[in-house]
Symmetry: C2
Subunit: 459 residues, 2 copies
Amino acid sequence: MKKTDVLVVGGSAAGVTAASVSKMKNPDKDVLIIRKEEKVMIPCGIPYIFGTVETTEKNILPDTGLENAGINILVGDVVDINVNENYCILANGEEISYEKIIISTGSTPLVPKWLKGKELNNVFVIPKNKVYLDDFQKRIKDKKDIVVVGAGFIGVEVADEINKTGKNVTLVEKLPQILGLAFDKEFADEGEQIIKSRGVNVITGTGIKEILGQENVTGVLLEDGQEIAADAVVLSMGYVPNTKLAIKSGLEINERGFIKVDEYLRTNKADVFATGDCAEKKDYFTRKTCSTMLASTACAESRVVGFNLYKLSTPRCFGGTIAIYSTAIGNTAFATAGMTETLALKEGFEIVTGIFQGPDKHPGSLPGTHTQMIKLIASKETRILLGGEIMGGISSGELINVIGLAIENKMTLSSLITSQIGTHPLLTGSPVGYPLIKAAEMACKKIVLKKTELEKVLV
Amino acid sequence: MKKTDVLVVGGSAAGVTAASVSKMKNPDKDVLIIRKEEKVMIPCGIPYIFGTVETTEKNILPDTGLENAGINILVGDVVDINVNENYCILANGEEISYEKIIISTGSTPLVPKWLKGKELNNVFVIPKNKVYLDDFQKRIKDKKDIVVVGAGFIGVEVADEINKTGKNVTLVEKLPQILGLAFDKEFADEGEQIIKSRGVNVITGTGIKEILGQENVTGVLLEDGQEIAADAVVLSMGYVPNTKLAIKSGLEINERGFIKVDEYLRTNKADVFATGDCAEKKDYFTRKTCSTMLASTACAESRVVGFNLYKLSTPRCFGGTIAIYSTAIGNTAFATAGMTETLALKEGFEIVTGIFQGPDKHPGSLPGTHTQMIKLIASKETRILLGGEIMGGISSGELINVIGLAIENKMTLSSLITSQIGTHPLLTGSPVGYPLIKAAEMACKKIVLKKTELEKVLV
């Protein structure tokens, strides 16, 4: 029987990172990735193949880093794992033994069973599969009216990119706002305005009821009775974890269909870890299981796996997903970390919020200046930061990581306000009016004002 | 006698921020800023008036925020403070009493006493003074050959901006590299290459000996004997704290000439605080006094002042400057936080470093992608992060704040590696190859490899 020390099943972001960090921590161990795909797509780059990047060929996760690190790659299909005797079986009958196995089988697009017409020609989903995407891209070329169903990040990005190629795109969302639950209304509304101004039709507050057509798609019927003509439909209604292999191998699955893991990403079987979209997620604050799927969360989990594979490396365990992410519509970025105001209130937190708007360069008269709007959500009792949202220019993508790190370090509003930051006219807001700190000040001000009013009453 | 509750002397970044945060924490107190200038310059924007921003008028710190917060502004010159009876005296004889006074008198350009020719016509410095700068800008208009002496941030920025207007600019630096001591050689060398490619002449490793000319400047003589023709010279040789008022008022001054303060920014006299360029600075790690002057550090100090003005707000004290800052040459940004490798070694730290280079978008084929080079410096024993340097695109200005916050939270290499970050194709590096995390991995790898080799020897 062929053998390896560390076996990673799946070669997307989670698998690649788990393999790299495992090898880094254990340079004497053999690490093998088994993946189904010849060429792996950069997951977050997929929406951009429809416009900006143009082709899947320019969106490939290169193998160079893995090869340089001495990690082995095998293209194959793992169909079973003997978790008691530590070996796996491939579709071609080959068996490979391991000391540690990491399951990072990812996720596939959700297509609701009840959705009539889902099997019609020119109904597409957005999987992490180059062969499928190449065909999708070819077939959509001569289409004119495209309906994108679901306005989470991927739906918004795909709609905007397809719209760039001159097609008539309609984005349909069941929720009252686009960008899902990741943003409060003031941010989602701005996003909707921008994407509309770019020519995308947006319909919110009503979901899809049925896909219309005989052989080929001709349109969609919405819950509110509207019919929209379409010669192609893109379903972006969420993703489900790939757990077929895990289930067959006897791993425990949670109530949301993810592989159950502990904070070291260990499954219920010895030497078996799971990471990425297929692995159980818990929310950082509510401590409830959730269905967040982000390549960045996946990579953070995989690094924890790598650090804890042979010996536990306390206290580096994974404390739940903060769900830090960002997107861009035109030259405006939207970024979020932790809880929104809406979610925090719904979950029963007593909160205080602060919002501030200012230029992202200083003076604001500098060319390329973008307005930055930042909202912070904090616990009223402890002042600990619970979440943040940004709308701004290109630097928002890194600025949200400042907020993410503040959350991960359980910083309070006052510790954030008095933190040291660096600023530069061409690169950031001003040191005096740095929007992140000002937003924290705005939140603090509410607490202070409340107190002062209280004192007046008591006197 | 006129009275106020909180009196702030000086209206630049430090003063404005101290006033704002004091008012926020104490909404019932009257806050008054007394400043010399009718219009205040945005300090970090000053180099850009020579090119990008064009005029000082577009680089003014607006009073709107102060006015909206109900803060009073008086243009005047405080010439003495009676720190025992809590009142100050203005040049016009007026007296104003206070409960708390905050001194934020800033700094002025250093012109060495020994420098022959410093009083010649067309020898300039770069003060935060609109009247002076307007005259400087007018007089430099018809000049052709400009020598800028001193290649710290301000020297580099001013040289690059003046160069943009088509003049022949030579930048002279006594140290072996430009960008002062804030960067290790690999970054400074890149910076020098870029600024040279933009047409600026750069001479390093030799300082200025004398300014040549009779009435008007005709050139400079360098320490190595070279003469450079010039019809204008800009001295950017550092800044000295403005402490005349503090000395006259009996405040204690440290060995570097700064007003002595404790970690709450309190001076040796009751009710008297000092903040910003005039206040004593300690290095975050070495605990030695230093001469760092940054608007961003000033603002962080001023927020600490505001929080501790009437009642101490533990544990929000100022733990020493991390010196987080950034600049840009063309479309390449340079950013730094904490200690460089060179400084850390010089100060006696046992360190490990990691460096990584990758695209700042993903895939790297996206338009506008810039290479990001990140270096991290950490303690070998505790793995605690000591510093970081970035060369990259526009997002570097916020990314350095991620590093700054990691330093301020005393994060270790492994806690940084397993931190959650957010990524997006158009906004950041990839989750798999996020350069900040990869640089931490590179540093960790060195430690692990050393250990493995050690184990081999022991077996």
